[in-house]
Symmetry: C2
């Protein structure tokens, strides 16, 4: 099997969702002063590559600790939607005819803009697309900051506001994995290992890994 890292590196000052806690990392113990190194971290539960639990946007939604561990090892199917214009919706006609997978991973290609203002202007799931995913029982992953439009200077008046795609998915007790990256070498189907930190909260950072049988590696 070949394992692909689908995670952005966590580092001080990295890009976050607007308004989320800043990510900080500083030496707490140093080799010179203490003879060993320890790093102190500050970050939000949705920093970098992370998993959203239903309680992120749903009043009575479940937290990560409510899910059995094996839910986070998913048969995944890539939905290639590269080439979309900034801040454009991913419509339901982009979905595969049937979904024999635990998760649909939308490949927007927007991860190339990570760390820049343009990263905020990613394509997003139309509410109806998110609803269809939920109706099929699918969890969702995306290589962008959010499944809904992210506030930015370029937001248009006719965009959905709030969290309609989140509500469609998290309201149906589905999980959402955001800020994936490195999808390029993956075939259409792969195993997504997305075991979040053991934090019983609204979400948690994750080292997301894509696993492909050796024979299927491109």
């Amino acid at each position: 099997m070949t394992a692909y890292d689908l995670s952005h590196e966590l580092e001080a000052g990295m890009q976050t969702y607007p308004g989320d806690p800043a990510v900080r990392a500083r030496p707490h113990a140093t080799f010179a002063a203490n003879g060993h190194r320890v790093t102190a971290l500050e970050l939000g539960s949705h920093a970098g590559t992370h998993v959203d639990a239903p309680s992120h946007t749903e009043a009575d939604g479940r937290t990560l600790g409510d899910f059995p561990l094996d839910v986070f090892c998913l048969s995944a199917r890539v939905v290639d939607v590269r080439g979309l214009a900034p801040r454009s919706p991913i419509e339901p006609d982009r979905l595969p005819g049937s979904t024999d997978a635990d998760a649909l991973v939308f490949r927007t290609g927007w991860d190339v803009h990570w760390g820049t203002d343009r990263y905020l202007d990613h394509p997003y799931l139309a509410a109806r697309t998110a609803e269809r995913c939920a109706e099929r029982g699918c969890h969702v992953g995306v290589d962008a900051l959010s499944v809904d439009p992210t506030p930015s200077a370029n937001a248009a008046d006719d965009e959905p506001s709030g969290f309609p795609a989140h509500h469609a998915l998290l309201g149906a007790d589905r999980l959402v994995v955001e800020n994936l990256t490195g999808l390029d070498p993956l075939p259409e189907r792969f195993e997504l290992r997305a075991y979040p930190l053991a934090l019983d909260a609204d979400g948690a950072p994750v080292r997301a890994v894509g696993v492909v049988p050796e024979t299927e590696t491109r």
Copy 2:
């Protein structure tokens, strides 16, 4: 396959290695005020269940980012050393005759003391035991706070001081997984998935998972 959670929950005020950063978790955005929930976290790179990189105790040791991702999916073999006295060494005669595994996971049973002062008084690896593991090319896991004795009120004068077991392992470019828990249902051999957060540092928290083929589940 059956997946077992081998991780302590990360929560505010949880036990840490003496002197390490306190773990804090507080609401950053709330449903009432913001319409969604985000949690702000503070923690050290060695909080809870975590992976030590060589740079934790070695001047020129490698950081986590220097390791390829597949290193963190390990064939593991349990070394059952339950029943040892507090603060006693795990001697080399406890090692299996041969090691056809990527990692040896020492099961001290000390995880039952998690969250209490007694957790500090765990058994530890004698330096020679750690050296033998390194000579065999093995990474090491343990269901205790450290592979070396942890400072506590009960420390004895004749105990090793500093980090001899860490030096033997990390100095040989091996990895150490500490604060594992939940080893009870595992057979002697299992797959240890210990993908740390994508932090290029001296260590990082991990959601450690033990995977066992369905037919081998106890």
